[in-house]
């Protein structure tokens, strides 16, 4: 058993040292961390009003904006 494990270690260790992340993998890792940290905005368009807020919260923050735009020519 000892011999086997030693052999496995010898096989694995040099691989680990040799492994270097490529540029694409580094970029993906960066993206993963940034996406985990930042909060996502949630928007639900309705006929009467628009509901919007941050992800992870129980209630929408803005829900009383009526879906109506009025255009003035100035």
């Amino acid at each position: 058993m000892n011999l086997l494990t030693k052999k496995q270690d010898q096989q694995i260790k040099p691989k680990k040292e040799a492994k270097k992340y490529s540029e694409i993998e580094l970029r993906v890792k960066k993206m993963e961390t940034t996406f985990d940290e930042s909060t996502v905005l949630v928007i639900d368009n309705g006929t009467e009003s628009i509901k919007s807020g941050y992800s992870g919260q129980d209630l929408p923050r803005v829900c009383s904006i009526f879906d109506i735009t009025i255009v003035h020519n100035a």
Partner: protein, 206 residues
């Protein structure tokens, strides 16, 4: 809150748009009134732009080109509308990433379940969407165009018939009356008998 529309290239006429409560106050003097969402589906994407701008940057305080958005879509959205939605969010509002998901699915996930039947009674339309293992079954989902909007119209028609001075364009006031004064009785026949026997009450039965 006034927002200058970026889409207007004409130099002679500058368009200023008002949204929400402020828009309602200036409704009478307006050049044009736009209701971008009709019966639960977005019809006018140009009119929707300033609304999203105000919600994202003024109400929620998102930084430009540094935010991610999750959009809850209509269960009966057409496939042609999705690229248009994402185009506006990427190219006009400069979002980092956008994902569009079924609104019925999202509301079921918020309760911690993946199977169920979602009944959504809205202002413009009603949807019943069965969901299995997190996916909405499109062939079995039913939409009904009778919703809260029609009840307010019915209420206003009834008030006009009784001789009240309400014009049919005052839908906001009608909605206010409906939300604050109206109720649904558990026993309909009993409620009608109560109204008829009591002379002081002047209730309207729809």
């Amino acid at each position: 809150m006034s927002v200058e529309q970026p889409g207007s290239d004409q130099q002679t006429t500058k368009k200023i748009s008002y949204i929400g409560h402020e828009g309602l106050a200036k409704k009478e003097k307006a050049n044009s009134v736009v209701y971008p969402v009709v019966r639960g589906a977005i019809q006018d994407y140009d009119g929707m732009g300033p609304i999203w701008e105000q919600v994202l940057f003024k109400e929620l305080g998102a930084y430009k080109s540094q935010f991610q958005v999750l959009l809850a879509e209509n269960p009966i959205i057409k496939k042609q509308d999705r690229p248009r939605l994402s185009e506006i969010f990427f190219e006009k509002l400069f979002a980092d990433s956008v994902s569009i998901m079924n609104g019925a699915c999202l509301s079921l996930f918020s309760t911690g379940k993946t199977k169920g039947l979602v009944v959504e009674i809205g202002e413009g339309a009603c949807h019943t969407v069965p969901i299995f293992e997190g996916f909405a079954l499109q062939h079995a989902s039913i939409t009904n165009d009778i919703a809260g909007q029609d009840i307010t119209n019915l209420l206003i028609d009834g008030l006009v018939a009784q001789g009240m001075k309400i014009s049919k364009k005052m839908t906001e006031n009608g909605r206010d009356i409906k939300e604050k004064m109206c109720s649904v009785p558990m026993d309909y026949a009993m409620a009608v008998r109560m109204c008829c026997s009591c002379n002081r009450l002047r209730l309207m039965i729809l």
